[in-house]
Symmetry: C2
Subunit: 305 residues, 2 copies
């Protein structure tokens, strides 16, 4: 199966903590790397993770709270020091350019690569990236300021050829592509060998939803139906639900309810408040509702399947 | 002896490395805390150091390269999250306000404390802070852009009273202050007891010079004469001296020569290039010229004496 995985670089909330860095992660889909959020210290975590800076061509920013974007100017500056020449694409709420443009002019006037800023409106679903194998849509979230999640959607791939069957029916090699894409094979005597006999079904397309930071948000469930993995805001325990309301974040229970309603396969909890010395309380609360839940932590790589 | 010490938060150079954070340190003089430079990740290091955020009232920025100031906006934001109300003084090259003002307006419009920006001209010696017990002067350095070091000067303190002698000569308690400040004591019979008999000499005033980033800079030696501790740019080994020239940094040998010429008591090397897996080569090079040298490292606290 092609690679599709998420590496957590930071999964703490804004207040500095001993245990966590602020939000950042890298989504690797078939060796295309997308950085999602870029809190302070992200470049330090990238260095520790041994992910190659040069493989990152897209940085997605969910919203303009510092714990999700204060590491960006440092990343851009370090890309410059490391000799980058390839364009770097930043997908972020459109407002961000108002300050980032000034920061780049002030601190990074000598970059030898192009920073391509592509602003989006966090209030509506938008496709912000698309290629042959993947599409990325924004997910409108409910937070104190405009905020979007990101839905990574693998595109369907061709079925696998059953090589033994193909040889048995003497399918010529130049016809393999058409058959993998759904075609039947007609033998010289006119007999039609159906596609299903010549192939194994392709792996179903996978998807990953990054939903941080958000209140409990039933409106997004429809967009997330059948998602393989959700990374969800889990700033607070259910015991601190008033605090969650005040700061427009979710509890562990709400993260689990979302995963359950969406019919997700797996849930990763993140964006932990510094107030919990032991986050296993959050895990237990979520697992009572949605058993297939893990706690994020720095350095953890979670496969999407 | 009153506290006077330097805690290293980051002592790497700009390129991200596994071993070091970018530049920041905290100078504690008699429980007054001054942060010197504020590279990305400084607030993380402060949290690890267990230094209280609330005790920091002054942040000094040497120059406007990102590895010395990209952590500032995060520090200010976190001060806000932590409920700070006391003014925070930033002493930095005057240009910095052009971008910091915009960043504060964009990201930190809700701070409940005042950010007092006090710009200086890095090209000349300026006193940027002074109180009853300490003075801080800038040290003009030679770098790729305007850059200043900082000289922390303890002010002379009163001599210590020799309590046994004071009792023997029946010096009244209300007269202690005058005698510690240098006065003699005249007994009722007219006999004068000299100051020196009634006191122990005060500890001599101490000083600390932060000289990062700079080329070898003999012009500053005069200002540093007799300093107790120098923290000096030691980005490169003498084997990479061309690189040092190219980037306007110093070698370990040049750091040691500076300490020797200044008649310093101790030298701390810092601002290490990521190219050295083993920094003991830098230490050896410096110690051949100036034996009382240490390598900085994150978390290390160096007393000034």
């Amino acid at each position: 199966m092609e690679k599709f995985e998420v590496t957590i670089l930071g999964c703490g909330s804004a207040t500095p903590s001993h245990r966590h860095y602020t939000s950042s992660q890298v989504v690797n889909i078939r060796e295309k790397l997308f950085m999602v959020d870029c809190g302070e210290g992200t470049q330090i975590q990238i260095r520790r993770s041994r992910i190659a800076f040069a493989k990152i061509n897209h940085i997605l920013i969910s919203h303009l709270h510092g714990d999700h974007c204060f590491g960006l100017i440092g990343m851009l500056s370090s890309f410059g020091l490391l000799g980058r020449t390839a364009p770097l694409y930043i997908h972020a709420p459109a407002d961000m350019w108002n300050i980032l443009e000034k920061e780049l002019a002030f601190y990074c006037s000598e970059l030898e690569f192009e920073v391509v800023f592509q602003g989006f409106d966090p209030a509506v679903i938008q496709t912000i990236y698309e290629d042959r194998s993947v599409r990325i849509d924004t997910i409108p979230l409910k937070h104190r300021i405009p905020c979007a999640g990101f839905l990574f959607l693998e595109k369907p791939v061709a079925d696998h050829l059953n090589r033994e069957m193909a040889d048995f029916y003497k399918v010529p090699q130049w016809d393999f592509g058409r058959i993998k894409d759904g075609g039947d094979f007609t033998m010289p005597d006119g007999t039609v060998i159906p596609h299903s006999r010549l192939t194994y079904p392709a792996d179903p397309p996978r998807s990953y939803a990054y939903c941080c930071d958000t209140e409990y948000n039933p409106e997004m469930i429809n967009q997330l139906k059948g998602v393989n993995l959700i990374y969800h805001d889990c700033t607070y325990s259910v015991n601190d639900v008033e605090r969650a309301r005040l700061h427009h974040h979710s509890t562990a229970v709400e993260a689990a309810k979302t995963a359950l309603a969406a019919g997700a396969s797996h849930l990763a909890l993140g964006h932990f408040s510094a107030r919990y010395d032991d986050e296993s309380i959050l895990l237990r609360e979520a697992q009572e509702i949605f058993p297939d839940t893990v706690l994020s932590k720095e350095g953890l790589t979670i496969p999407v399947n």
